[in-house]
């Protein structure tokens, strides 16, 4: 009887193996079919249908990580199912903590949460250091770029600058497109020097990319290199040059250069005329700013600036005759003192009355910043 049972067992094994093979074939076909439909739905942008179809695929291939990942992606892409997407991704992450794509999706979900910054940064870095099934170098570069954008968006300028520098280090020098992206990021992180270092070589080639020229011009402008900025912008095609932001920078550059008495190549008379204009402008600016601020202004930077303006205004009154155009031309050594007081006045007025700054005042203020070694 035991023999009969052992024979029965063997027969059962064979039957089960046969049924199981057929069953597996059927369910895998079903899973693939549902997954293919889901992929098509994703391509068509129909995420709700894709989610339902990926779910059906997972019913028949529950352990297939690719389907789980795609479902999580589809859920995340809707922007309304982050919790579920995160759960699927965490399960995948547990299996493969070094997976670049999984870490990236987790980072994106964490980035969408108001309290998820630390988590997002951790996942972003894991994604950068993680494994990528294809084009790992390029994918890591993309992820770091995304991280930089995220940091900038959340106002973490210092961290963004560090990450952008890493991105710059990982960008081939002959890859102009990527260099421009990095340069633009450096502009956003206010790292004008490095940005100019990236854009300058790209802007001086025979057929420069307009974006590179804009980048170089913007970096130069913010570094107080108004002449260089003007020259860069001059290379732009007209339609680009006339874009409002670029046009504004060009005008400002022109105003600053027109107000600067220290430019090389100017005659003594011209220098004196510019210095005299600066003194006159600053005097008016000081008076109007003092008048617009009541004496009861509380202590603080504004009160301090008003006091400075009152002092400067008195000095302008006292030196009115010494700093007229004729005397400044006759005694060029007085020019520095006059310009120093004008710069001081514009700087104090910028603190106390920034809203009422005219274009010429702004030019003089920018010139003051450049001369005193301050840039944006």
């Amino acid at each position: 009887m035991l023999a009969i049972f052992i024979v029965s067992l063997v027969l059962m094994l064979a039957l089960t193996a046969f049924l199981n093979r057929m069953y597996n074939k059927t369910v895998h076909t079903l899973a693939d079919s549902w997954a293919a439909q889901a992929d098509a739905s994703v391509k068509a942008g129909n995420y709700d249908a894709a989610i339902a179809q990926y779910r059906n695929a997972l019913v028949y291939s529950p352990s297939k990580e690719m389907y789980q990942f795609k479902l999580a992606q589809a859920l995340a892409d809707t922007g309304e199912n982050d919790n579920e997407a995160q759960n699927y991704l965490i399960a995948l992450w547990t299996e493969s903590p070094g997976s670049g794509p999984v870490n990236l999706e987790l980072a994106r979900i964490a980035a969408r949460k108001s309290m998820g910054t630390a988590e997002a940064l951790r996942y972003y870095h894991s994604a950068i250091d993680g494994e990528w099934p294809e084009s790992p170098v390029s994918r890591r570069w993309d992820v770091r770029l995304e991280l930089c954008n995220y940091l900038l968006k959340t106002g973490r300028l210092e961290q963004a600058r560090v990450e952008t520098m890493s991105l710059a280090d990982n960008t081939p020098s002959d890859d102009a497109a990527h260099q421009i992206v990095v340069g633009n990021l450096l502009l956003r992180t206010l790292d004008w020097n490095r940005a100019l270092g990236i854009f300058r070589p790209l802007a001086v080639v025979e057929h420069p990319n307009p974006d590179a020229i804009v980048g170089a011009g913007t970096a130069a402008f913010n570094l107080g290199m108004y002449a260089a900025s003007r020259d860069y912008f001059a290379k732009l095609p007209a339609e680009r040059r006339n874009q409002p932001d670029i046009a504004a920078m060009q005008t400002t550059s022109h105003d600053v250069l027109a107000a600067d008495p220290y430019l090389t190549g100017l005659s003594t008379k011209e220098r004196a005329a510019r210095a005299n204009n600066a003194v006159a402008l600053a005097t008016v600016r000081a008076q109007s700013c003092i008048e617009s601020n009541p004496s009861s202004t509380p202590n603080g930077p504004v009160a301090h600036a008003i006091a400075q303006l009152q002092q400067n205004a008195a000095e302008f009154d006292r030196m009115q005759k010494d700093w007229n155009e004729h005397n400044l031309a006759s005694f060029p050594d007085r020019l520095d003192a006059a310009m120093t007081l004008a710069f001081s006045t514009e700087t104090a007025a910028a603190t106390a009355c920034n809203a009422s700054q005219t274009a010429k005042d702004r030019a003089l203020w920018l010139l003051a910043r450049t001369r005193t070694g301050q840039t944006n």
């Binding site: 035991l2 009969i4 049972f5 067992l9 059962m12 339902a52 019913v59 579920e84 699927y88 399960a91």
Partner: protein, 612 residues
Amino acid sequence: MAAGADANGADELSVTTPNPIDAVPEAVAPAPAQVAATEPKPKSAWRTLLHEVFQLREDRFFLFLAVLIGVMSGLCVVCFRIFIDWVQLTLLGSSMTPSFPRVVLAPTLAGLVVALLAIYAFPHVRGSGVNQTKAAVYISNGYVPFITVIGKFVCCALAIGSGQSLGPEDPSLQMGAGLASLIGRKLRLSTEKIRLIAPVGAAAGLAAAFNAPMSAVVFVIEEVIGTWSAGVLGAIVLSAVSSVVTMRSFLGADALFRVPQFRLVHWEDMGAYVVLGIVGGIASLILLKWIAWARPKMKALPRWTLFVQPAAAGLIIGFIGIKVPQVMGAGYAVVDQAMHAQFAWKVLLMLAALKLIATGVSFLSGSPGGTFAPTLFIGAMLGGAVGTIEQHFFQHLSGTIGTFALVGIGTLFAGFLRTPITAVFMVIELSQNYSAILPVLVSTMVAYGISRAYQKTPLFDLLARQDGIYLPSIEEKREMLSLDVEDALRTDGAIVIEPGEKITNIARSAEAEPESLLLLRVNPGEFWLIDREDVMKLAPDASPSTTAVMVKSKGPVPYIFRDQTLAEALQSMGEWQVLPVVSREDLGKLEGILTIADTLKCFRKTPPAEEN
């Protein structure tokens, strides 16, 4: 028993003092099965070969059979699951959201077929299968008809595959028991072994269906056998493991659900799990009370309604399924989704409520199928709902919705099926994560307590009693107060006499305490009962050298300890009317005596087990 003792355990004091250890009554353990040796039966050539070549004793042969049963049960469950899926694909299609005509017609028509099969072909397939297995063990000496196995296989696959809200686990348990029973009968095992082999098969079937061997072993012990019997535990474990290995080799090692990782960070979370326990306990009660109330009424309906009850249940479920197809079938995929936070709390509550209704309807209609999977489903939905609400109001807490769903599974399992230990093991096995143990313990115990407080009789016992069968209630047995020796101990009823004590002194003591026994302490743990009359007779003429050893006495008297049960003490007592109770750390130290009169008095004072 001491050397030289007669059948009553009494003997005259002999010169040779026996080893006290030998005098300790044998522990109550079943003797190795000798049935094959004692009952002359024709042996097959194979069996003879196995016996002669491998020198398999009966108990080892039983273990070998356990593995064989495990493998066969595993194969059977694999085929069962494939068949269920095949039926589902055929009747409902491959989408999780079946189209309108199918969703109503499939369970209704399948219900009709199931009813016909249950009435004409397989008369014992109704119900979940757990009680039938238990009844087979306690009433039919482990006999489960093989036709029932076939019937369960076909009818359950039809019912579950067509969308009835039932699960495949309990039927798998019964199919395993049926296969084991068949093997036992065909191999002409003794009645005792056949009775033991049915739970072995049951564990194998359940383990393969659940892909959780430990839970299956614990469930069978907790619900079917009721005791941790060493005689069968090894076989049950072996069969469960071999069935799971077999099942995994075909269907893979993946757990039923993909459970998100969990780490308990905030202890405040435990409050939320208590709430989950309360919710789970109440939901369990609702389902239990409903079944307890409605089942007798369903049974009282005219016989012709048996033909339409499963179909009517199918129709109701089909209509629910038009809008909410998730409640149809076992629902593992939906549980998986709940664990991944797919549903809002309102949807989760709705799913739990509708599944509760669908399960009640399916179960009450007599459709064959199990209650495990629906219990898991309802628990997961309730857990998910509590978790979602908790996350909404207390965002800093660490529990994920998946964790709550997982704990919810254990909670309802403990509350509804009243197997709390299985529930805890099951959650750990399903999640493969020990860190969920604290929430599970808290939540399951709360739910179990609520369910136990308001519904005295557990589900399976209730169903059996409604069917007129009074199976032993494991829960009642577990919770019955144990009467110990110390409950009937008399501390002042004996005088201990040393062997060298003079008989005159003994007589004086005996006169001072006329009711006390005289116990001669020969060695630690060796007490003899001195004949008081003989002492009084010898004392007046006794010389100064006459000592206690020269007095007529009986012994050695078996001794017991104060923490032993009175039942054990009665076994040790034999023909003795009194037993010395000694200290475990010093066998010579008498702590008191136990008399048969005190023992019986103690039993009489204890109230009988509460009936519901």
